[in-house]
């Protein structure tokens, strides 16, 4: 028996690591070219599109920053991002609290409804929404876009937050009530501190979505001075077609904040974003 165990060699993990490395290169090589290109001149890119730079230049960044009006569009994106984060946290925090702790009548139906709403294509309401927003002067208006993000992101955020809040025992709430707290006070003083990681996850996800979002942004913001980075980047790409040095530098403005946040808080991002797929 012992002899048999000793003879059966532990299978080597080497092939697994080789394959994983191949997949990792498949992901990273295209992204690395983004960084390389931003540091090269356009002539160097033409010579070899995936080689690392031999002579570094930072002029692409300064030129892209001013040509692409990134000071303005990054500010717009930041406003949209923070507004969306704050609103989604409040709206879905209240809703998730009602579904998890307040015996919301018909909460099963509400959960199904929220899932259906987040599964439905935006094309279902796009056309009338656009013309309603035009009439309400919410086209070319940052708040008009934020309002759409609140509505489209809150259903998923509510379902996600509810799963966090369900873990908080109801006794905590009853205890707060006995101490004379109103329901809203119980939410802000008892539930909020305990569920802070859940709220952070929801804030990160809604922030990521609104920063990267393209479809609503291109439809509802036409004024170049109000554009977020996603659509202004596309416009910049069109204006500088085939100047990949400049385009890559511009892309990095958009990517780097996201990438840094993701790498620092990756566990929160991954857990939150995959929660919707685990059913």
């Amino acid at each position: 028996m012992t002899l048999q165990l000793a003879r059966r060699r532990v299978p080597s993990l080497f092939p697994y690591y080789v394959l994983l490395l191949v997949l990792a290169l498949f992901v990273l090589t295209p992204l690395a070219t983004l960084l390389f290109n931003a540091l090269k001149s356009n002539a160097q890119i033409g010579a070899n599109p995936i080689a690392p730079p031999t002579k570094f230049t930072l002029s692409n960044f300064s030129q892209a920053w001013t040509d692409g009006n990134f000071a303005v569009t990054m500010r717009n994106s930041l406003i949209i991002c923070l507004g969306s984060m704050a609103g989604v946290c409040v709206i879905s925090g209240l809703a998730a609290f009602a579904m998890s702790h307040l015996d919301l009548p018909g909460r099963g139906g509400v959960a199904t409804y929220l899932f259906l709403v987040s599964a439905m294509p935006a094309q279902l309401f796009l056309v009338p929404l656009f013309f309603t927003w035009t009439r309400l002067h919410l086209v070319d208006n940052l708040f008009g876009l934020i309002l759409i993000y609140w509505a489209t992101d809150a259903p998923f955020a509510t379902l996600l937050l509810r799963s966090f809040l369900l873990k908080i025992p109801r006794d905590f709430l009853e205890a707060a009530r006995l101490d004379g707290a109103t329901t809203l006070q119980a939410l802000t003083r008892v539930v909020l501190p305990i569920a802070a990681p859940g709220f952070l996850t929801v804030a990160l996800i809604s922030g990521l979505w609104s920063w990267n979002e393209f479809f609503w942004a291109i439809t509802f913001i036409h004024d170049p001075n109000l554009r977020p980075v996603s659509t202004s980047f596309l416009a910049f790409q069109d204006e500088n077609s085939a100047n990949w040095a400049l385009i890559s530098a511009a892309a990095l403005f958009m990517v780097l904040p996201v990438l840094v946040l993701f790498l620092v808080l990756q566990r929160r991002f991954v857990n939150g974003l995959t929660a919707g797929g685990l059913r």
Partner: protein, 309 residues
């Protein structure tokens, strides 16, 4: 508010000493409070989603241009859609897209998650790397591949290929789909891995005792163990394939010559370039209807086969 002491008669007192009418009122008030907390969500949802969705039903039966009044034309838009070769072609593209989008990221995701599940060291590192394209904006991912696959500045000319992958009608749809697959598969791998990690480890121990190899363990324990996740993501993939818009719009705008047109990009152009808002509404509603059918099929299968857990 003054508290009126009600002295309940015999038979009116419940076990907890609260008379039923008051209990009922308290319950009603609690329910009301709960719905008050739902109010902001419902308000924005009605304003942005539900209201316009209902309006879509109406406008889909009009000849509305988006400006001015709309006149009712019954089901003409739908009849037009059936006869519209552009719509039919876009729908076929959606199905081709679905086939690719089910197979390519699904296979890569399963492979990636399997490899990840077999290792301990560097697992988090690889998982993080695979996930990165998913958090990068569609416009940037599109630009990266537009550069790499360009017939003039990309890798192609250096290895003797000068196909314009996005600019050639026979490759445009596939090439755009490839970019989406590239950005998507790592997300699937991470979800599959999370599902795998919740499979009961005792099952693997039992299989090892029975002498099952790695592949057999994967085939008979892992795959059935993550079936609910696989089925659910399969369903979502169908829905996402119907909805896909961003990458097509960003990279090819549906061209060249409609070769990568999908229903969403066609609808977008009908609404905002051709000023046929009524017709666009009918296309949008058809898309939602197809989504509803997929969801219903999933629900029926789930109930009948007990895929819930």
């Amino acid at each position: 508010m003054t508290d009126v002491q009600v002295r309940p008669g015999p038979g009116l007192v419940a076990a907890d000493g609260v008379p039923p009418p008051i209990r009922r009122r308290r319950k009603w008030r609690r329910g009301f409070t709960a719905w008050l907390f739902m109010l902001p969500l419902i308000a924005v949802n009605v304003l942005v989603v539900v209201g316009p969705s209902i309006a879509t039903i109406y406008y889909s039966m009009t000849d509305w241009t988006g400006l001015g009044p709309a006149s009712f034309i019954g089901l003409d838009n739908y009849r037009h859609a059936f006869a519209d070769s552009a719509f039919r072609e876009a729908l076929i593209h959606n199905f081709e897209w679905l086939g690719l989008f089910l197979v390519v990221p699904g296979a890569l995701g399963l492979l990636g998650s399997y490899l990840l599940s077999q290792i301990k060291r560097f697992q988090i590192l690889f998982r993080t790397i695979f996930f990165i394209p998913y958090v990068i904006a569609s416009v940037v991912n599109a630009a990266v591949w537009q550069n790499l696959l360009s017939p003039t500045t990309g890798i192609g000319p250096h290895v003797g290929i000068n196909t314009a992958f996005f600019g050639n009608p026979s490759t445009s749809l596939m090439s755009v789909n490839f970019v989406v697959d590239w950005h998507w598969w790592g997300f699937l791998a991470v979800i599959f891995l999370a599902a795998m990690q919740s499979v009961d480890p005792e099952l693997y121990d039992a299989a090892k005792v029975d002498g099952a190899g790695r592949w057999q363990q994967y085939r008979y324990i892992t795959l059935p163990g993550i079936r609910p996740t696989l089925v659910f993501l399969g369903l979502m993939t169908v829905i996402w394939s119907l909805k896909s818009f961003d990458y097509v719009f960003i990279i090819t705008k549906g061209g060249p010559a409609g070769s990568s047109e999908v229903v969403t990009t066609l609808m977008y152009r009908e609404a905002f370039n051709e000023y046929r808002a009524g017709y666009a509404a009918s296309l949008g509603l058809s898309l939602a209807f197809a989504t509803a059918i997929v969801l219903a099929i999933y629900e029926i299968l789930r109930r009948r086969r007990g895929w819930e857990s």
